[in-house]
Symmetry: C2
Subunit: 91 residues, 2 copies
């Protein structure tokens, strides 16, 4: 099983500061399960991705810096989201 | 209260054929409630938007033609999604 929790698998852009990652799934059911867990992570951390863009078998997540630069909060959010996809995400 | 169920409020593009609409909300709670209803509509119709892109207070919905041209199925999906936002969507 592929590790999906590594922060290094997020791509980081500089202007504006943001983390981006695409998660792919085999089915709509898996996609929805991931979206539900993602919502739970948001609630627990009180921090939300700037944008979540999804279709039936993929979810693109963009986490923007809340105050000019990416901080530990954003990186924790990224780690928790990746952990929520572990075991379900494809590739 | 503004009517949000009119099909005419969707913008239609020709190439490729698709319907697009942006729904705005006052709170993340309203956004989530709409996303949940949107998932129910998908399940009921067995038809899903090509893409749903959301942040804490907006949801952009793109419905693509399933076989070359927009048909009654896509228009019904659009109407049902708009109805799911009625009373919650802002402007």
């Amino acid at each position: 099983m592929e590790r999906n929790d590594a922060l290094g698998e997020w791509s980081e852009q500089a202007r504006p500061p943001a983390l981006f990652r695409r998660f792919a799934f085999d089915s709509y059911a898996q996609t929805r399960a991931f979206l539900d867990r993602l919502a739970q992570v948001q609630d627990e951390l009180g921090l939300a991705p700037q944008n979540i863009s999804f279709g039936t078998t993929y979810v693109n997540v963009t986490i923007a810096a809340s105050d000019g630069a990416l901080g530990e909060g954003e990186r924790e959010l990224a780690r928790r989201i990746a952990a929520a996809a572990t075991g379900e995400a494809r590739a």
